[in-house]
Subunit: 144 residues, 2 copies
Amino acid sequence: MSANSRLTIAAHALAWIGLYQRQGHEVATSEQIASSANTNPVVIRRLLGELRRAGLVESRRGVGAGWSLARELESMTLLDVYEAVEPGPLFAMHRTTPDQGCVVGHGIQPAMQCIYEGIEETVRHELARVTLANVLRDVLAAPR
Amino acid sequence: MSANSRLTIAAHALAWIGLYQRQGHEVATSEQIASSANTNPVVIRRLLGELRRAGLVESRRGVGAGWSLARELESMTLLDVYEAVEPGPLFAMHRTTPDQGCVVGHGIQPAMQCIYEGIEETVRHELARVTLANVLRDVLAAPR
DNA sequence: GGGTGTCGTAACAATTATTGTTGCGACTGC
DNA sequence: GCAGTCGCAACAATAATTGTTACGACACCC
């Protein structure tokens, strides 16, 4: 199992801020978002910090501080979020370099690398097709 | 970073066995493969055990024992290998269930689930396009 | 029948990445 | 000055994978 839910939590946070702003509020606090996502506020701040670096959200400090969207949800795709919060590739190579004296050990990494890059490109393409506005719409469409 | 190189190692092992058999040998030992992949024989046995359960390889015991392909490399795709060695989904949900009393917390999982399933399906499709014979060919084509 | 080499598997340690938690300084509006 | 929130560092907790050791099971060979 891929043990990282960073993309999921980041999308959750963005959808939450987006909805909150639609309801007329200026900013959302990390504590509110953390409560909705059932996690710790620091986890949210860390993730939102990365999204801020990518230009997707802004933060204010002081009393009445919090987070707001830097762009419309319509102009944000899951690929933007993915690139902001996921550091590495989808599939990993050997953790130790294989035996370069062996034909297979020598050729396997470039061969797999090439295949993996193609797949990652496809995934990126799929992620780019979904905007955060789409996500929020689907969230609100869930039956209760 | 996705910390698991299982698919990579499994492809390495299959390519190694395939090449070894093309050179006229009957079976390959986990120690030979481990030496090429620069890892421990037990790691290889564990992976090959999962591939055996999926019907991709066979093993013999006793003196002169080892591993052999159960099917031609041409008829094996990376998807077969992926399904044999990767237990979970590509993207994970929240590790704790979000606040079901919150609209976003309630709707986020079905929304993301749906998106993720589409992407996984695409990845599977891509993996199914590559046979292990393709991989071995690319491995041998690597410049040295 | 015993010796040998290899798989099969369990148990546990080591490593790595992520997530959770605490603490405290910085900033801003009142 | 006070209160509320972010920013960030440090560290613990958790989980998954990988590495290692150990030993029994099995089959071939003599």
